[in-house]
């Protein structure tokens, strides 16, 4: 349970310092089971800030979305920092971006929140369907307390949590400037149970499953936009010359896009699950991400987003890397 007063005070103090352009956090949503991102440009904006299990977004995307317009003569670039409110998984995204030198450590103020698990919007909407007015969800030990029209219901956490939270190893932010409340010890262990079960299937079954999934994709690229680690200035699928992936929506192009998206996150994905959350067609994208996370751990003993000093996985090598597949 996070003390919201403490969070608001911390945000207010950060904005008051004047070297911060804005702090991005969460505020109460206006519809159903939703919280929304909130920006504090002025100290009084901090009062809106909340933190509840509905705060599912990964706000680490916002420092990467900063526009750097061309400067007029004599104009100084805006060198102010950006403040971000992060959960455990979000902080790993920031660590990973810093590791890749996509972001300067001095350019972000990280307000860390030890997180005890959030809800999965899809699961909670299925459990309480047709909820239009905004509601309240609170954290209470191993249960979520859901308040709808003054009526409270207690639901076991396992029932509403997304899969990523069930196996979260880093609930406390790894990198932070200000920590709200006490550290939470990670007691869960990632065992890649689902990945291992899927690996046992035959090639034919695997392709049948994925073909069905990729057929659904409408290539809206929401997965790319929500991902804190997809921050290329120009994505390879937007390139026209050479045009690697065509615009038509069919199994061939969809497969190419989904495979390349997964590959580009190999050794970088920190498992925040935003791609899967925002997917309008419900593709199980985390299954691909988790598989690569597991293999990278096994092959190269590397975990993304833990150490900002390390070199990125695919930009380094060891002379004794596995090569049994080489003729």
């Amino acid at each position: 349970m996070v003390n919201e007063k403490e969070l608001q005070d911390a945000v207010e103090k950060t904005v008051k310092k004047g070297d911060v352009k804005y702090v991005v956090g969460y505020e109460k949503g206006t519809f159903g089971f939703q919280a929304m991102p909130s920006f504090a440009y002025k100290p009084e904006d901090a009062k809106k800030f909340i933190f509840s299990p509905l705060c599912v977004h990964n706000l680490a995307v916002f420092p990467m979305l900063e526009e750097k317009p061309p400067l007029r003569k004599g104009e100084e670039p805006d060198s102010r920092k950006i403040g971000v409110v992060v959960k455990g998984c979000d902080s790993r995204a920031i660590v990973q971006i810093i590791q890749e030198k996509g972001l300067d450590r001095d350019k972000v103020v990280i307000i860390g929140i030890p997180c005890t698990g959030v809800v999965d919007p899809k699961k909670i909407e299925a459990k309480f369907p047709g909820q239009v007015k905004n509601v309240d969800v609170k954290d209470d030990g191993d249960k979520f307390v859901v308040t709808i029209d003054g009526k409270t219901t207690k639901v076991a956490k396992d029932e509403l949590m997304p899969d990523k939270c069930k196996t979260c190893e880093y609930p406390t932010p790894i990198l932070y400037d200000i920590l709200i409340g006490k550290e939470v010890k990670g007691t869960k262990k990632e065992d890649y149970k689902d990945v291992k079960v899927f690996e046992k299937k035959s090639m034919k079954d695997k392709w049948e499953y994925w073909e069905k999934q990729f057929e659904k994709c409408i290539r809206c690229y929401a997965c790319r936009n929500a991902c804190p680690l997809c921050y290329c200035k120009e994505c390879m699928v937007d390139q026209l010359d050479p045009q690697w992936v065509r615009r038509s929506v069919d199994v061939s192009e969809n497969t190419a896009w989904n495979l390349l998206r997964a590959f580009h996150l190999a050794g970088r994905c920190i498992g925040c699950g935003q791609c899967e959350r925002v997917c309008p067609m419900g593709l199980p994208l985390m299954e691909l991400n988790k598989k690569l996370e597991k293999d990278v751990k096994e092959l190269f003993e590397y975990t993304a987003g833990i150490n900002a000093e390390e070199k990125p996985l695919l930009a380094m090598f060891k002379p004794d890397d596995p090569e049994e597949f080489i003729l």
């Binding site: 034919k204 065509r246 069919d250 061939s252 495979l259 590959f263 050794g267 691909l288 695919l314 080489i326």
Partner: protein, 142 residues
């Protein structure tokens, strides 16, 4: 009569070793299957996984990537980086149900004309067994 399946294999060969190895195989008159279509790249580290997936989309049944032996890379580390990339790509293909044997990698030096011919033979045989690539071949040709 049904035509025998002849696979289309794209070979990305590095300029300094594998391409010279293929050249040596040719000048030494060593026979090897004609299924390999060679594209010369400056280094195996130049091979982006996008090339591999694009080749499979455009009708290749297999892809062979040739580089220098570890430690012999003209650019010192290109082949090591390629090795990591392909290891990950093969795992990804396997998980989505595309046989990872369609993407092969080999180290051939400029002096190994014989090895080059052997490798091409082996890869062609393997891909003949796997049959044509039908998973995500591009259907619209325009």
């Amino acid at each position: 009569m049904k035509e025998k399946f002849e696979p289309n294999i794209i070979g990305f060969l590095c300029n300094w070793c594998s391409y010279a190895g293929a050249d040596l195989a040719g000048t030494s008159r060593i026979q090897y299957p004609p299924n390999l279509k060679v594209i010369r790249v400056m280094c195996s580290g130049r091979v982006n996984p996008i090339f591999v997936i694009n080749a499979l989309q455009q009708g290749a049944d297999g892809v062979l990537i040739g580089g220098c032996h570890p430690g012999d890379c003209h650019y010192e580390r290109g082949n090591y980086l390629a090795r990591r990339r392909m290891a990950v790509l093969k795992k990804l293909l396997e998980h989505t149900g595309i046989d990872p044997n369609r993407v092969r990698m080999t180290w051939v030096s400029a002096a190994e004309g014989n090895k080059f011919a052997e490798v091409v033979k082996e890869v062609t045989e393997d891909i003949k067994k796997l049959g044509p690539m039908q998973h995500f071949k591009r259907e619209n040709k325009w």
